[in-house]
Symmetry: C2
Subunit: 284 residues, 2 copies
């Protein structure tokens, strides 16, 4: 049996699967302090025994295997989780279980790669656009990681001519996340993104920034497919708008697959993270 | 004996090395039509026999090994080279020699990685800033390539508040290359970059854009080192200015190695491309 933990800043999901695709059982609970949360995690896997577990964690996390703090959560606004040895505590509690450890976004990217919209390609980018913006990159079937893991949500962007919003990123103000995350839309328009008419220019501006996100990753890692998920992407009008803005921005400079196949929606939706976790566990 | 071809848009360099580092002999000649140029290349390697050759070519080139046009030059402003089967012609002429084929920037990046400023790290980005801007990325010791190869010179950037220059990129106007290449500086200031005083704000603006280039690659591929080469980088004041702007822009959002080790100058200078070619040949 395979296990997965999707450790989010707001909620945790634990799940088990016999084959890495079917979610046989899943449980969600709120993210409290590490001590309180981990008790629930331990309890879950004591009652649902598995051979291996794939963990996708909120972060920033240290996912460099050669690092002395591999598997730790790093500097995070969630004070009690700072420098928490997530992987180490799991290994200490379950010495016979094998573990894979990566970011929440990487796990979802891997899920989409193996069992979702990315099946059949070897290189993809997965963008999640919600409370924050993040990207997971798969190249030659492997999760991309260098010195750290991509934090592409904070790339700088060229401003839309009709947008003078200062941005919500506490580090960079008007980086991608500062201008195009869910909270950025809410603060700019003083209402939840859900309440904005689907024909509003707001979505054109949003698509302009997300198209730049696609353009930057196209030019830096050259994937075969770019997949979007996350709360903001529930707006169905966004994908065609992003495709249009992307085509105009890139201006044919490099070849990509046809844009309607190149830039697409997530397929596994809420299961992408746990299925990615199962698949990482399966690879062990 | 190992061979290297650095195929630039203006000049070709052919060279041989006994060990992949020492340049035993090199010859430069102008890039004419493919027919004329290749005759000189054939002639060179007929007189300097080698077992394997690493080619770094101007492009865009097709470097996807599984592609039916692997080794071809693609759409390029140099009309006579369009769709030229560079690798295929070399293989046809020298059926007993083994070949590696990549972009000119990737070859230089690989040279710096193996024998230059990138020795000892496993992940790096090499930026060349000259007539154009390009990046080569090495991750886990391998040249990064997905659907195509990085064309990071054309990423979009946030404008410097004191810069209203329209940009020189025929595709995107004010992308990175449009605002920060040698020709961009020349056109903006109406003089060669060489003639601009080293204390001029021009270098601060230039560093602001190149720092964004570093920030984007830090956030998307997370290298251990970023190395700059190319004609514009002969201005020694640039590296410290880029380090300063980078530190301010990133605002500590992600960890990188100390900035004076993280962002550095090329070590192999004009030899990076051929040494990279030798090293690629040696890997075969």
């Amino acid at each position: 049996m395979l296990g997965a933990i999707e450790a989010g800043g707001t909620k945790f999901v634990c799940a088990v699967s016999p084959d890495g695709q079917k979610v046989e059982h899943r449980e969600e609970f709120p993210t409290l302090s590490p001590e309180e949360t981990m008790v629930t995690v331990y309890h879950y896997f004591e009652h649902h025994p598995v051979e291996s577990i794939g963990i996708g964690s909120f972060g920033p996390v240290d996912i460099k295997k050669t690092s002395p703090t591999f598997g730790y959560i790093e500097e995070t606004p969630k004070q009690s989780w700072q420098h928490f040895n997530f992987l180490g505590e799991m290994q200490r509690h379950f010495p016979k279980i094998k573990f894979a450890f990566t970011t929440d976004v990487n796990a979802a990217a891997y899920g989409e790669f193996k069992k979702g919209a990315g099946q059949g390609v070897s290189d993809l980018v997965y963008w999640t656009v919600g409370t924050g913006i993040g990207a997971g990159v798969i190249l030659n079937g492997q999760i991309l990681q260098g010195y750290g893991h991509p934090e592409a949500g904070h790339i700088l962007v060229k401003r839309h001519s009709e947008d003078s919003f200062i941005g919500v990123c506490p580090y960079h103000h008007d980086c991608l996340e500062g201008l195009a995350s869910g909270p950025a839309m809410e603060k700019r328009y003083n209402t939840s993104a859900k309440n904005i008419s689907e024909n509003s220019t707001a979505w054109v501006i949003e698509a302009y920034y997300l198209a730049q996100a696609c353009m930057t990753l196209t030019l830096t890692v050259a994937p075969e497919k770019i997949i979007f998920g996350g709360g903001v992407m529930h707006q169905k009008q966004l994908i065609p708008l992003i495709q249009k803005e992307f085509t105009e921005l890139l201006a044919g400079y490099v070849k990509t697959p046809p844009v309607d196949q190149y830039i697409t929606s997530i397929q596994l939706h809420d299961d992408a993270g746990v299925i990615g976790g199962f698949q990482l566990a399966k690879d062990l």
